[in-house]
Symmetry: C2
Subunit: 320 residues, 2 copies
C-alpha cells in the first residue's frame, strides 16, 4: 500500500494528542502538544502541523499518511469546523474552519468530528464494535458525550451536531443546573464532575460516616472510586446512583434507535462493576418489555492511552 | 413503465384499508375490509388478497403492481412479521410471517413495517418531507407512534423495532401508568386517549366550569377539541398541557438525531394551532441553545383519508 497509515489527532482543553496509526490499529508513534498556550488558532495549527510532520518522520514521513482524522469538542463533521468550543482557549465564538486550515497546510485529506463520534468510529474500526451496525458509544469523562451509529454510520443529523445525549433530561424533575443553562441533564449526574457533585451534596445533607469526609472541597470522582474500592458504603451508593441515572437514560436511548449494544468509554469506566451493574439493572427495569435483557452494555476494550488517537485516526480511513 | 403502480395496505384494529397508487401519489382506487372479524390470520390474508385482486382490476390488474407495502401495528421491516400485536384479533403472541404469506399468495414483492414508519416513508415519497434527509414523523392517534428518518432512511435499529418514541418518558416523574406496564410514557399524555384522560382527571380534581362537564364518562379527545373550538378555557388548557408534554419530549428527540423537522400526523393534528403553538413553545424552551428556533414542526399535508394507504404504498417502490 502506497499510503499505509493514518494520523489521529485528539484535541483536548489542555493538551492535544497526535499519533500515526496502521490499519490494524497499532499506534506506531505518538506525541502531544499543549492546546491552552495558544491564544490564536493559526499559531496552534502551525505548531500542530509541525509536530505532526516531525512525528511522521519516525514512520516514513507524511507521504505515507493517507488521511488525518481529528476529534475535537464541538467538531462538526459536515463543515469541518470547530464552533463555540468554550473549553478551548482559541475555540470560542465563530466557527473555525479547522479541517480546511490543516488541509491547506499539509495537502492531506482531513476529517473532523467531535470526540465522542470519533470514539464510536474508533470502536467500529479497531474495537469491540467491529462489524456492529447499530450501537451507541457513551463517553463518561469530564462531561458525558455520545456517538450514535445506525446502519453502520455515525449519526450527524441535519446540522452535524446530532448525538447530544449527555444533555438529555430523562431525570429532569428537580434536576441539577447544567453548564448548558438547562436543568436535569444526564451530564450533571453521570460525568466525573457529576459524581463529585453527588458526593458533595450527600456529605452536606447527612451525617453518615464516610472516608470521603476526610477530603476537602476539591473531592473528585477518583476519590469516590478509591473510597468505594475500600468498601466505603456512601461511595458505593454514589456509583449506584450514577448508574441508575445512566440506566434510566439508556432505556430512553434504546426506544429511539434499538441498538445492539451501548459501549462505555472514558474515565468513569474505571469504576467497573461498581457502575456497570446498576446501569444494566436500571436500564432493564425501565426498558420496554421487548428489549429487556437484550441490549448489551460493556466497556470499550481499547487501551485507554491509545483510544483517543485511535478514535480520531479511524476517520482518516473513511475520507472519500 | 411496465408496472406503474404500487399497492398500499394499512392494517388497523377494526378495518384495513387498501389502495392502488401511482408514482405521483394519487390513490387510483381504494377499499377496505374488516380486520376484527377474522380469528385466523390465514383467513384474513385470503380475504385481503381477494379484495386486493378485485381492487386492482380497476387499474389494469395486479400485473401492473410492482410491489405491495404494508403498515401494521408491531410490523417488523427486517423479518416481514407482525409480532405480539395485541390490538389485532389474530395478532397476539408469536411472530406471524405476514409479508411472506402475502408474497406466496400473490407472487408480488411485499414489504412491511409499522404504521408510523410507513407514514414517514409516505411523507418522504409524496409529502412535505420530499428531499428531506433527517426528520421525525410523530403520529398522534389512539397511541403515539414515531418514524425516524436519518440520512434518508427509516431507522429500524438492530432488531427492526426502533422508534418507540411514544414510550419515552421524559415526563416520568409521578407519571401515568401506560399499557406497556411502565409509567410516564409520552403516549399516556399525548395520544387521543391521553387527552381524554387529562380531561377526566382535571374535571374530577376541580370545580372549574367547563362545557366538558356536560359529557359523560365516555369523553373523547374530539369532545375536548370541540369544547376548545368554542372557547372553553379548560379544554384549551388541556391542549396546552398536551402540547407541553410533546414539546418537552421533542427537545429530547432533537438531542438524539438533530432532525431538520418534526412532522405531526394523525387525529390530534385536527386541533391545529391549539396544540402546535404549545408544542413549539415548549420544545424551544427545552432545546439546547444551538437548536433553539431552528427545528421546524408542522403537520403532514397528506390528505387524511389517503394518508395511511399512501404511507404503506410508498414502501412498495423501495423493494429491491
Amino acid at each position: 500500500m502506497d499510503k499505509p497509515y493514518v494520523a489521529g489527532i485528539d484535541i483536548g482543553g489542555q493538551t492535544s494528542k497526535l499519533g500515526i496509526v496502521d490499519a490494524r490499529g497499532t499506534v506506531l508513534a505518538q506525541t502531544s502538544i499543549r492546546t491552552d498556550t495558544h491564544k490564536d488558532v493559526n499559531l496552534f495549527i502551525s505548531d500542530l502541523c509541525e509536530a505532526l510532520e516531525k512525528l511522521a518522520e519516525k514512520t516514513g514521513g507524511l507521504s505515507k499518511v493517507r488521511g488525518i482524522g481529528i476529534g475535537a469538542p464541538n467538531g462538526n463533521y459536515y463543515t469541518g469546523t470547530i464552533e463555540n468550543a468554550v473549553n478551548l482557549v482559541w475555540g470560542g465564538g465563530f466557527a473555525i474552519p479547522f479541517a480546511k486550515l490543516m488541509r491547506d497546510k499539509l495537502n492531506i485529506p482531513v476529517a473532523l468530528t467531535n470526540d465522542a463520534n470519533a470514539a464510536a468510529v474508533g470502536e467500529m474500526t479497531y474495537g469491540a464494535a467491529r462489524g456492529m451496525k447499530n450501537f451507541i458509544m457513551i463517553t463518561l469523562g469530564t462531561g458525558v458525550g455520545s456517538g450514535i451509529v445506525i446502519n453502520g454510520d455515525v449519526v450527524y443529523g441535519h446540522d452535524g451536531f446530532a448525538g447530544e445525549l449527555g444533555h438529555t433530561t430523562a431525570v429532569r424533575y428537580n434536576g441539577r443546573l447544567c453548564n448548558c443553562g438547562r436543568t436535569g441533564c444526564l451530564e450533571t449526574y453521570a460525568s466525573a464532575i457529576g459524581v463529585a457533585r453527588t458526593a458533595k451534596e450527600w456529605l452536606e445533607s447527612s451525617d453518615e460516616p464516610s472516608i470521603l469526609r476526610g477530603i476537602s472541597d476539591s473531592i473528585t470522582s477518583k476519590d469516590v472510586y478509591e473510597a468505594a474500592a475500600q468498601g466505603d458504603k456512601m461511595a458505593i451508593r454514589i456509583f449506584e446512583f450514577t448508574g441508575k441515572k445512566l440506566g434510566e437514560s439508556f432505556a430512553e436511548f434504546v426506544s429511539f434507535s434499538a441498538p445492539q449494544a451501548i459501549i462505555l468509554f472514558g474515565g468513569l469506566s474505571r469504576a467497573g462493576d461498581l457502575i456497570l451493574k446498576p446501569i444494566v439493572e436500571h436500564m432493564n427495569a425501565n426498558l420496554l418489555h421487548l428489549w429487556k435483557n437484550k441490549i448489551d452494555v460493556f466497556f470499550s476494550q481499547l487501551k485507554e492511552s491509545d483510544a483517543a488517537i485511535l478514535g480520531a485516526s479511524a476517520l482518516g480511513w473513511e475520507i472519500k
